[in-house]
Each structure stands twice: as structure tokens, then as C-alpha cells.
Symmetry: C2
Subunit: 361 residues, 2 copies
DNA sequence: ATTAGCACTCAGAGGCAGTGAGTGCCAGCA
DNA sequence: TGCTGGCACTCACTGCCTCTGAGTGCTAAT
């Protein structure tokens, strides 16, 4: 059945109102607020039809209407007017991003925190999951039983480790290890670091003290870390502010779910049409998310790979505003990470703040 | 007024029971469980006195007794039998520590997570706040417009940053910068990095591209970071499991408070008698913590400075068990960070797992 | 097609009695 | 003198009832 223009306006009004108040919406209110000059009785008829079409539902007979998942879906796809970020909003975002995105390693958690702060919902950040390799290895000799390992990964993240040894090594040995590791451990993935490779490296360096094994262990660790645990969530406590999570059991279940980065990681690898994806309540695969919605935006992480940022909230979420903000943050992030060199670390200090400003006046 | 031996046993029984059930405790139950062979009427008399002495209170006339803060204080100071960790418990802790404490930078958050997991309460970790200095600087030349800065701090943390430049530099220049920075930026604190120092460094390197400023900016950043934001909290969601935080308003207020690391940092700098400190409900300075308790254990972070780990929970907390676990974790942490070289990163790979085992069979 | 009017529904609030866990106190007993 | 059994009392909690009011669906009139 086709949905009339008037029905659309009414549905949109119901959703808007419900988003704002979290209370079932009655016909009288709609009659006032929708801008349609018809009586509440007319609205009632329309509401009844929208209900039978599955866009709305009633908590009980004598209550107002509440949007169903299908109703939200329609709203998101067709009805909502896209929120235009105000200058203040963009500036606020720019300011936080400027400050925060300096260090590639911490980027994830910072971006998460920014998104949470900007949207006032818990926010997540997922890094593009990819099999990283080590681009180059450096060992820095500190003193006779200390050196630092520095590894530059293919993802451009830099990892380090201070190694304190129970015995002495000389600078020569460190130098030698560095050369050998650069030759044999660069460009390979985690699972290519085999015991065979390690023992052959031990032989070629003449190491009998387990140094090679320790460094290889570090390599394995950073590579697997890069591949997996790249999901963070920030601002979980913000859920408790919302009426839909006043039930501690519900809140706990969702928070628990969100606390586990393995769960979050599953959001990666969704198929993605345009830049922002909205997953409404029951559309979620995970049981725990069934009465919450997720809004995701993808960002370009360079090398053609992409990551995600997103927020989690009640199905009654201000989709329009959240989507706009996320998409803006994602855009800024993409720019920072790819195209526009200089890299953020440098750019933030060198270049005033035009990295992202031009996208919106 | 002196408190009799029997009163002590009764008080201890009340606290134990209340810790376990979160329900007001009645005289009958105590008569059964305390092991004293007296009737409930006798217990009632004793309870009445304990109440008038301020150790217990009644939520209402016809309810059982609940310990007051003073009651808990007495319990913690004198009555509770110190929990002895079982072999399984120590082993579980050892195992997680072994796995996690490898990288000094991430140590804080890992330790927090371990403590939260082990105690089942939200846990915090505070680093010893100290003015760090840079021990040594290394610039690693990657390609003509990329290099990595590596700084080893006085705290033994290693920080890095990938610098991507909008222009070319040659390896020689990088080398030169490295030398100059090592000479003039090592051993100084954040506030000693002045514009004057920067411009004089610029002159001595002949840098006109802002490279020196960028590197100095990195130095300032890591030093201030090391000094300040060294507080993490993990497992906040665990609060929601507890009956005392079923009220979403209360839970939200506490979680919010805990989310701000500035608040947590205030716990640092408490005076500390023995190794574990218990702060019960109203003894807390912060309003938000007034009906929660905090258990803190200090660890030795080397250089004579010390950090804290702790958990936050309801006043009805299993102090004994929590204290025992925290203290064990703190002890292991101290060992890992100081005395017993090798450092964890290496030790974890080289030395089976005797770093901490001997403290308890 | 729209609307005014009306009967109907039902969650939620407020009031009220019954229940039971727990208390305080007293009188009797060791 | 201290302990105990007994008893009256208190009061949160529960279930039950009624009342209220927001909101509905339907119908007849416009």
C-alpha cells in the first residue's frame, strides 16, 4: 500500500516528538505540532492506518503511538530532514579533533571519546582490520643491558618496547640484531614468524641468550595486537542518563556487551552503502543490541582500507544529528589519515587548522 | 565504652552476613551463624547496644541491623579475618599479570583491567605522578619526508611519534637534529622547554622549517602526558550488578565521577600507613563516593616513587578479599617494576614465572 | 473527506488491610 | 547477674480496590 504525503508528515511528526520526549505520542499533540490543519480525529484515523501498516504501535490500547523499527527505518530513509551542523558544532568538533588526533596509536580511543562527547551517546571506534606487517625495525642501544625496540608497521603505527636484560650486550650485537631483523622480519605477517624462522635467525646472529626469541615475541605481539584489539568504546556511562536504560538489568547487559571489544569488532565488515549506516533495533544481529540502534560512519584509513566510528543508543535516537556529526568526524578523520599530508602529528603543530575547516564554513 | 569480645563476634557476624546478602541482618540469623550458643533474645540485647554505640543501624524499626561506616571501620581495623589467597587465586592473578604487563605504556590500563577482573569491582590504576624528563632522544630516518621520534623517559616509558613532513629532509639533517636534541632536551622537565630554548635550538641546527618546534612539541606533549593523565579505570559496568547501584541516578553519578581521570587522580597523595588503605563511605572526601568504599594498594614504581591501584565498590564490600588481592597484585607489580630485573617485557618471555610466585606457595 | 462527540480502555496513582520479619521489653530461671 | 522464652508492637511490603485521565475507536452529522 502506498503511503500518502500526509501520512508521511504525520509519521515524521510522531518520530520527531517521540525522539524528543520518549513518551507515546497522542493524536492531539500531532494535530497541533504537525502543521497540518486538521483535527485530532482525522489524525486518529491516519494513526490507526499507520499502525495497521506497521509503522507505529501502541504500548497499550489507551496510550499514544510509538514508532516501530519499521517506522524508524522509513523515517531514516525518507522522512527525516538531514541535520545541518551549525558552525558552532563543526567548530567544536574541529577543536577536539585538532587536539586529540596526534598520535596514531592512541587515535582510536581518542576518536571514540570525541564521538561520544559530541553526540552524547556511547561511541565506538574500529580500526580497519588488516594483517599488518613490519615495515622497519630499529633497535636502540641504551646501556649495556638495555635497549629499545622500535617497529614501524605497515599501518604506519609505531610500536616500541623497552628491553631490560639480565645480562650484558654490546652495541655491536644490538646493531647486528637490528640488521638481521630488518632483513628477515620485515614485510611478513604474524603467522609467518615461525619457530623455524626464529631459530635460523638465532643461528645467523649467534644468539644463545634468547634475545632473538624475545624480539620475535615482541613482533608477534604487536602484529597480532594490530590485527585484533582495535576496537574501543567510550562514554558507556552516558546510557544511564536515558530513560530506556533505567532498568539496571538492561543497562548492564548492554554495557557488558559493549565492554567486550570482540563484540564490537563484529560490526566491522558490514556491507556499507553510503557513508553512514543506521542499524535500527531488531535489525541488529546481536541479541543485546536488539532494542538499541547503532549508527556507523566509515572513514578512510589510507591504503584503501577503512575503519568505522559509531554510536550506540536507544532506537529513539536523534538519527539525523548523530549521523551528521559522525559523518563529519569520519570525514575529518579520513582527511587526517590519508590525502592531505602532512600527517596530523606534524600538521597539528605546523598548519594552523585548515585541515578540515574547508568542508563546511 | 569498651566493646566486649562477644560484641565483637556479633558485629563481625553482622558485617559478614551483610556483605554476603546486602539484606539487613536479624538477631535470629546471628544466633545461628555466629557460633555463640546463646538465644536470639540475647543477641537482640547485644545488637541494641551495638546500635546505640553507633556500630549498627536499622533502616526502620522492624528491620534487621546494617553496619554503619563506623561498624565497617571497626570490622576492617580489628575484626575481619585476613583473607588468605588460595593457590588458584594467586595463580590466576599471576597468569593475567604475566600476559599483560609487558609494555610499560599500556601498563596502567592493563593493571586496571586485571584488578577489575580479579575483584569483580571497578578498578583504578594511578601512576606515580612525577615530573618526568627525557632520558634520551632518537630520531629514526625512514624516508625523505618521514622519520620517527623515539623518546625514553626517566620513568622508563618509551614514547614515539611518526612524523610525516610536507617537505624533504635528508638523513644527515635527521642525524643532526637527533644529536642536538639529545644534548639540549635531555634531563629537563616540561616547563624548561621554553620558546627561547626552541629558538636557540633552531639556530644551532639551522632549521627554518619548524622541525625543531615540532619535535619540541612532541617532547612537551609526552612529558605533560606522563605527568598528568595517568589514571585509568576499568570495569565500571560491574557496578550495575550490585543491588546498591540499581538506582540509575546513583549509578550514573558514580560512573560519571569515575569516568573523569582528574577525579581519580585526587586519590593520589593520600597518606598511607601500611600497604593497603580502606576508605569507607563517608570517609571519602568526594561527594559522589560518600556511599561507596575505596580500597587502595600502593605499588613501588621504582625511583622510590609509588603508584596506586584500587577498587571502588559499595560500603558493603568484601574488604578482606579485595584487600588481599589488591595487595598481591601491587606486590607483583612492584617486583616487576623495580628490584627484580629482568624487566617484565623480557622477563615474561625469558623467565618462566617465578617473578612473583615465591611470595605465596 | 472531515469533524465533533461519546463510550470505552487501561496504566498509574492513591488508599487500605493483611502479612510477617524483626524488634524491645519483661518476667522467670540458672 | 546474665540468659531466655514469650509477647506485644512496629512497619515495610504486598495485593487489592477504586478513581482518574489521557488517549483511543466508532458513529453520526457536516
Amino acid at each position: 500500500m502506498e503511503i500518502s504525503e500526509r501520512k508521511k508528515r504525520i509519521l515524521a511528526a510522531v518520530v520527531d516528538e517521540y525522539i524528543a520526549t520518549a513518551e507515546p505520542v497522542g493524536s492531539k499533540l500531532i494535530a497541533q505540532k504537525s502543521g497540518l490543519s486538521v483535527s485530532s480525529a482525522t489524525i486518529r484515523n491516519e494513526l490507526a492506518e499507520l499502525t495497521s501498516m506497521g509503522y507505529l504501535e501502541q504500548p497499550h490500547t489507551s496510550a499514544g503511538r510509538v514508532p516501530t523499527a519499521q517506522g524508524y527505518r522509513m523515517y531514516v530513509n525518507e522522512l527525516m530532514d538531514r541535520h545541518r551542523l551549525s558552525i558552532e558544532e563543526t567548530e567544536e568538533i574541529n577543536r577536539s579533533m585538532q587536539l586529540k588526533i596526534q598520535q596514531l596509536d592512541k587515535m582510536m580511543s581518542d576518536v571514540g571519546r570525541i564521538a561520544a562527547e559530541m553526540t552524547d551517546y556511547p561511541a565506538l571506534a574500529l580500526a580497519a582490520r588488516q594483517s599488518a606487517t613490519i615495515k622497519r625495525f630499529d633497535l636502540i642501544y641504551v646501556d649495556s643491558n638495555t635497549f629499545i625496540i622500535v617497529a614501524l608497521l605497515s599501518t604506519n603505527a609505531v610500536k616500541n618496547r623497552l628491553m631490560h636484560l639480565p645480562f650484558s650486550v654490546d652495541a655491536m650485537m644490538v646493531q647486528k640484531l637490528s640488521t638481521v631483523f630488518n632483513a628477515s622480519f620485515c614485510g611478513i605477517t604474524e603467522d609467518q614468524i615461525t619457530p623455524i624462522l626464529i631459530s635460523s635467525t638465532e643461528r645467523s646472529t649467534g644468539d644463545t641468550m634468547g634475545l632473538v626469541a624475545a624480539i620475535a615475541g615482541f613482533a608477534i605481539e604487536v602484529l597480532s595486537e594490530e590485527k585484533s584489539s582495535q576496537a574501543v568504546i567510550a562514554g558507556k556511562a552516558k546510557l544511564l542518563r536515558l530513560p530506556e536504560y533505567q532498568d539496571p538489568v538492561k543497562a548492564h547487559s548492554l554495557m557488558n556487551y559493549l565492554s567486550d571489544s570482540e563484540h564490537l569488532a563484529k560490526l566491522q565488515g558490514m556491507d556499507f552503502g553510503n557513508d553512514v549506516k543506521v542499524i535500527i533495533g531488531p535489525e541488529n544481529v546481536a541479541e543485546e543490541l536488539r532494542d538499541s540502534s547503532v549508527v556507523l560512519a566509515k572513514y578512510d584509513a589510507g591504503d584503501g582500507t577503512q575503519g568505522l566510528i559509531g554510536v550506540v543508543g536507544p532506537t529513539r535516537m536523534d538519527y539525523s544529528k548523530v549521523a551528521a556529526k559522525l559523518s563529519y568526524i569520519a570525514e575529518g578523520l579520513s582527511k587526517a589519515l590519508t590525502g592531505s599530508k602532512p600527517m596530523p602529528g606534524f600538521g597539528a603543530l605546523m598548519i594552523p587548522d585548515n585541515t578540515m575547516d574547508k568542508s563546511k564554513g
